[in-house]
């Protein structure tokens, strides 16, 4: 196995109690045992579990030429469920982390004063963050990018919601939010860690023949299930989202953007103030908004034309859009100004809705869609972020040769998430493209680092291990928010714990 083709070889341990950083080698033994991503995150979490760790990790193929090799994963104890969870990072963050020279970052303890982390060229610095504490996500991103002199600096940060400990807080990837539905934003807020800024000009070596295989698979994906589609709207349409809301949204889409090395451009950029009927270029200066979160958009569709403006506010405050959308709907909010007033209340620690506990509030199902049993099981397991579609998008389970049995389907979904987050493959792309099969992913991973024994079975075994171990770590204290519960979950959960 050749580590240099896939990893930079470093684990960073950040001790917030002392404000210091320490480096460890990412050993080949550790890679051979866990492969990468979520599996190594989990091993590191267990090693440091007494110090409330939050682990930021990259997968084996993150940042390589592998199709959809954009994913990273954030692992930590969710304040919402009190158990360990994995949040996929699908922006440029994970790629930048690896290029900055670090494969894994373990954040330990908590700082007395607000701090931020600057990772660049194999160097790590803990710096004071009083200049950005109190600022929203966009202001923080702008300030840090200006500070480091480069708009390509990637930021993982929290907004006022995280600072105030709201369980609706999420960790944000630069301006555009994330798939954090577990309140890890509040965890970072508790640690007084405002932001992690990353920039790397490093690169990975390339194994012979790897590039050609990547191109071949990319072509297969492009001419496969996703052919003829682009953007977020078709995804939501295929999942049964409100057609009226989608129509209003589609009119505002300016362009669709793919994440790093992803074939399907699932992020849609909308211009908020531009008249969608204008044929010529708008003269208005406006930042627009990148829609990256299908669940968040789905739950805000009821706002119709008001959606982008409200989502922008949610992103700026560092709130979780899906939960916010469902709460706003429950509150009967119907326009932007009403929504903005309500959002201010969500920032408060222990926020509750009509006397309900906060865990019930943020546990509201993110999918304003027809909910099937498998989706409820996935949601109740609380292991991976179900802000991603709880089933294949644009196609069906049949495209992936998964049986009709809801338990089988839920298990398949969890294992596919774990596989992707071990390898660093975008789990959303993996739900869109059956061509991105486990066999193909394993083949690429083995080729990338010349690791012959890295087979399909070996990867699936590790993925099942991640699912089981994460579920075990959630017991006995973990709690499933009432809104996420499902009567069939107990028996499903037993199966998970036994690894059967």
């Amino acid at each position: 196995m050749d580590r240099g083709n896939v990893y930079m070889g470093r684990i960073l341990l950040v001790d917030l109690d002392k404000g210091s950083c320490e480096e460890e080698e990412l050993s080949e033994d550790l890679i051979e045992e866990y492969i990468g991503g979520a599996a190594i995150n989990l091993a590191l979490y267990e090693r440091f579990k007494d110090r409330d760790p939050v682990v930021l990790g990259t997968g084996l193929l993150t940042g390589t030429f592998a199709p959809a090799g954009c994913a990273g994963v954030l692992t930590g104890k969710s304040p919402v469920t009190d158990s360990v969870c994995h949040v996929p990072l699908l922006g440029q963050t994970a790629v930048e982390l690896k290029y900055s020279g670090f494969d894994f970052v373990v954040i330990l303890g908590k700082s007395e004063k607000p701090v931020r982390l600057w990772l660049h060229d194999e160097l790590a610095e803990v710096a004071g963050a009083s200049d950005v504490w109190g600022k929203d996500v966009w202001e923080t991103t702008d300030k840090l990018r200006f500070e480091h002199g480069d708009d390509y600096v990637q930021i993982l940060c929290i907004g006022p919601a995280g600072e105030k400990g709201s369980l609706l807080a999420q960790v944000s990837e630069s301006y555009w939010g994330s798939r954090d539905i577990f309140g890890l934003g509040a965890s970072l807020g508790k640690k007084k860690l405002k932001a992690i800024a990353m920039r790397g000009l490093g690169n990975l070596e390339l194994a012979e023949g790897f590039f050609d295989e990547c191109v071949q698979l990319k072509n297969e994906i492009a001419s496969g299930r996703i052919r003829g589609f682009q953007g977020l709207v078709p995804i939501l349409e295929s999942l049964g989202a409100d057609p009226g809301g989608l129509k209003a949204l589609e009119a505002r889409v300016h362009r669709n953007i793919a994440s790093f090395n992803c074939t399907y451009p699932y992020n849609s950029f909308v211009m908020i103030e531009e008249d969608p009927k204008l044929l010529k270029e708008s003269q208005k200066q406006e930042p627009g908004l990148l829609l990256t979160d299908p669940a968040g958009v789905a739950s805000l569709l009821f706002l119709k034309e008001g959606l982008p403006a409200v989502l922008r506010k949610i992103n700026r405050l560092g709130l979780e859009p899906a939960a916010c959308g469902r709460i706003l709907a429950q509150q009967g909010v119907s326009n932007v100004s009403e929504a903005e007033k309500s959002l201010a209340a969500f920032l408060v620690e222990g926020f509750s809705l009509d006397g309900q506990g906060v865990e019930n509030v943020c546990g509201v199902a993110p999918w304003a869609l027809p909910v099937h049993t498998e989706a409820r099981l996935v949601q109740a397991s609380c292991l991976f972020s179900h802000s991603l579609p709880p089933r294949p998008a644009l196609g069906s389970f049949e495209d992936f040769s998964v049986s009709q049995n809801p338990v089988e389907r839920a298990r398949w979904w969890l294992e596919r998430q774990a596989t992707c987050l071990i390898l660093g493959i975008c789990p959303l792309s993996a739900l869109l493209s059956p061509e991105l099969s486990l066999e193909k992913m394993a083949g690429l991973a083995a080729k990338a680092c010349q690791w012959d024994s890295l087979t399909e079975d070996a990867i699936l075994g590790k993925a099942r291990g991640v699912v089981r171990k994460t579920a075990v770590l959630g017991r006995p204290k973990g709690k499933v928010p009432p809104a996420w519960q499902d009567p069939e979950f107990e028996s499903f959960s037993k199966g998970l714990l036994q690894g059967g």
């Binding site: 240099g4 660049h120 194999e122 160097l123 480069d150």
Partner: protein, 420 residues
């Protein structure tokens, strides 16, 4: 045992008027294990030359170099050549010793050959107008092509005789054949990567058949003039030709000054760079590198003297330091160099502060000319100062030198050693 050529002491001019291409010579020399590299400035030109075997002057602003080296530089250069020194001048370094009647330049009339790119009537420009011509009295020196060109080596040039090689041209001279010089390469063609700044017919007339590289003996020494940048790191054949030329010179010229124990002692002198200081230097340079890479995406340039500088040139300097700094750090070497480690750190901090200010002003679309001039001057000083420290460290045997590709370990061996 090292062969004599590799024990040469080689001076690279990094002073007033020098652009960034001297760092390419540093890369080339290091790759071929010539580690006795020193840097020469306008202020110590006379003092340093007697101690050198080879002097290299690469691209930049010829007028500014000539002005900076006056009044004593030309005589120091003559003495250097007469005692057996080798002068390698590429681009601006090739223009400098040519016959001229202009102020400052006229002191360097070592070579009588004439350039073929002088004209009274400026032709129509197709691209890069700022790089197309330089005013020269009532005439213009024109550069109808840039980027890749083809040159044919003369039959009597060792190893490479009769072969055609591609090399990059960034304003270097085409020389008319003359009895005063011995030509060793002629411009023979263009490629798909040649950039025509004027009508290709003008380019053909100006370059094809003219001398691209030549030699002139002066006393026991010789001048090698290269129109194109044979030293550019992207052109390995050109690099090998430069290396061959150095070896050939050594073979033809008795090296009277080797071995010299006093020299070795001096090589071992210098301060130790504390590992903490090295770490802090690395931070400063990394921050500069990120900022410089970002600035390189901006469409901005500065005209400094007769030379146009783009932000990419800042990155060239920073990368020249960065690539070696990482090696010092990996090997945890005790580094040694002239002056104090703190001095180096101060220089880095000063460069970073200026760069930061520059990028902020560029973002606000404010004037940056003076700041850019100061920054490039600082960057030259910092880069040279660091590289001198680096090469002295290698001389002390603290880290192994980089090796030529041909002699490098195989990939398998390299990977095996990394695993260890």
């Amino acid at each position: 045992m090292q062969e004599p050529a590799r024990r040469l002491r080689i001076g690279i001019y990094a002073g007033e008027g020098a652009s960034h291409s001297w760092t390419w010579f540093v890369d080339l020399l290091e790759r071929f294990s010539y580690l006795g590299i020193r840097f020469v400035w306008e202020r110590d030109f006379d003092r340093r030359l007697p101690d050198l075997d080879v002097l290299i002057l690469s691209g930049g602003d010829t007028f500014a170099v000539a002005r900076a080296l006056e009044p004593s530089g030309p005589q120091a250069l003559r003495v250097f050549l007469e005692r057996g020194g080798l002068y390698i001048g590429s681009c601006a370094g090739a223009y400098l010793p040519l016959k001229s009647s202009k102020e400052h330049l006229c002191s360097f009339n070592f070579v009588q050959a004439k350039i073929n790119n002088l004209t009274r009537d400026l032709p129509a420009v197709r691209a890069l107008p700022l790089k197309f011509s330089t005013r020269y009295g009532c005439t213009y020196v024109i550069h109808p092509v840039r980027e890749e060109v083809v040159v044919r080596m003369a039959e009597n040039f060792p190893v490479w005789g009769g072969r055609e090689v591609s090399v990059p041209l960034y304003g270097g001279p085409p020389l008319q054949p003359s009895e005063d010089i011995e030509p060793f390469a002629f411009y023979s063609g263009f490629t798909g990567r040649t950039l025509f700044l004027a009508d290709p017919k003008i380019a053909e007339r100006v370059y094809l058949g003219q001398v691209a590289a030549c030699e002139k003996s002066i006393g026991a020494g010789r001048m090698v003039l290269l129109g194109p940048h044979f030293e550019h790191p992207g052109f390995t054949e050109g690099n090998a030709i430069v290396e061959e030329w150095i070896r050939w010179h050594v073979a033809r010229t008795p090296i009277r000054r080797l071995p010299d124990p006093a020299r070795q002692e001096e090589d071992a002198e210098g301060c130790l760079l504390d590992p903490l200081l090295l770490e802090s230097l690395k931070r400063e340079v990394s921050n500069m590198r990120i900022r410089a890479a970002a600035l390189a995406r901006e469409t901005v340039y500065w005209q400094i003297g007769a030379k146009v500088y783009e932000p990419e040139k800042i990155l060239h300097f920073v990368e020249a330091v960065w690539s070696r700094l990482a090696r010092l750090n990996v090997h945890r070497a005790k580094t040694s160099g002239p002056g104090s480690g703190e001095g180096l750190q101060e220089l880095a901090a000063s460069c970073h502060a200026r760069l930061r200010k520059l990028s902020e002003k560029v973002a606000r679309a404010e004037k940056t000319q003076e700041l850019a001039e100061a920054l490039f001057s600082d960057l030259r000083r910092f880069t040279a100062c660091f590289l001198e420290t680096y090469f002295r460290t290698i001389a002390r045997g603290e880290i192994p030198g980089r090796r030529d590709k041909a002699t490098a370990q195989s990939t398998t061996q390299r990977k095996a050693s990394r695993r260890r």
